[in-house]
Symmetry: C2
């Protein structure tokens, strides 16, 4: 799979390393070149410094041949804009955005954009932990050993 990831923060870099390790072709974009340090020395994908809502930057990262585009910067607006560009202008089949704001995450999902709201997920899991509720399959996202710590 050809995947373009926007944002080389914690989630972006973890996802990029994991996908690359499994032989997917990964391009990762960040406004700051320094962010790529999180990928470690063994990362086999492409790194592009630039703004993820800029066509030229997206093209350089291979958006025209991408099977998937994921936006995980710290900015909800950037994430949602870039995902819309990837979907509407470049017709990337699979797009997803991380959104902090639960209300917006919900609204965008209703517009057909896949969103993951780490705020809601974190708060719900904490609450279930406090109240002793069963985690069920969610536990597999939370319980991991050190070997799996890179996803």
């Amino acid at each position: 799979m050809n995947v373009v990831i926007l944002g080389c923060g914690r989630i972006g870099s973890t996802l990029a390393r994991s996908m690359s390790k499994e032989k997917h072709r990964v391009s990762i974009i960040d406004r700051k070149g320094d962010a790529f340090r999180r990928l470690g020395p063994d990362f086999g994908g492409q790194m592009v410094v630039g703004n993820g809502i800029d066509d030229a930057v997206l093209k350089k990262a291979g958006i025209e041949k991408a099977d998937a585009f994921v936006a995980v910067t710290n900015g909800d607006n950037t994430n949602i804009m870039s995902v819309q560009i990837a979907k509407e202008r470049f017709h990337v089949p699979k797009v997803a955005a991380r959104i902090y704001d639960p209300i917006r995450a919900c609204a965008y999902r209703e517009l057909g954009i896949e969103t993951i709201c780490t705020t809601i997920i974190g708060a719900k899991l904490m609450k279930d932990l406090l109240l002793g509720n069963e985690w069920g399959a969610a536990a597999e996202y939370c319980n991991f050993n050190e070997d799996e710590a890179e996803v």
Copy 2:
């Protein structure tokens, strides 16, 4: 349940509102009073400005009678230190910390401290989304409607 929450960021404020709405007694601590704006005007819990690894601040927030303590600041070190203080010094029965660093989250869990690593959760969910894997029960943490957006 008497719960003390350290950190009034996105997850902390969402959790505090949700627990308070369900009639739990909530105290929330943040170093910056401005952070409490996230709780909205209807929040019925206690707000304490201060450093969450300071005994006096924790006591003011009612740690001595707390059934649970949750640390969700942006700092892994603060979260883990405060959780250890709550557990060892104040004997709070249930403690949990949000940890960004997957390796540390794993190590602390092995020491018996409940941790939620939003980095791993976010990256794993994104990966499953891209690869079309089944979310199972994890979906309930990701799919929510607007009424549930406050958890």
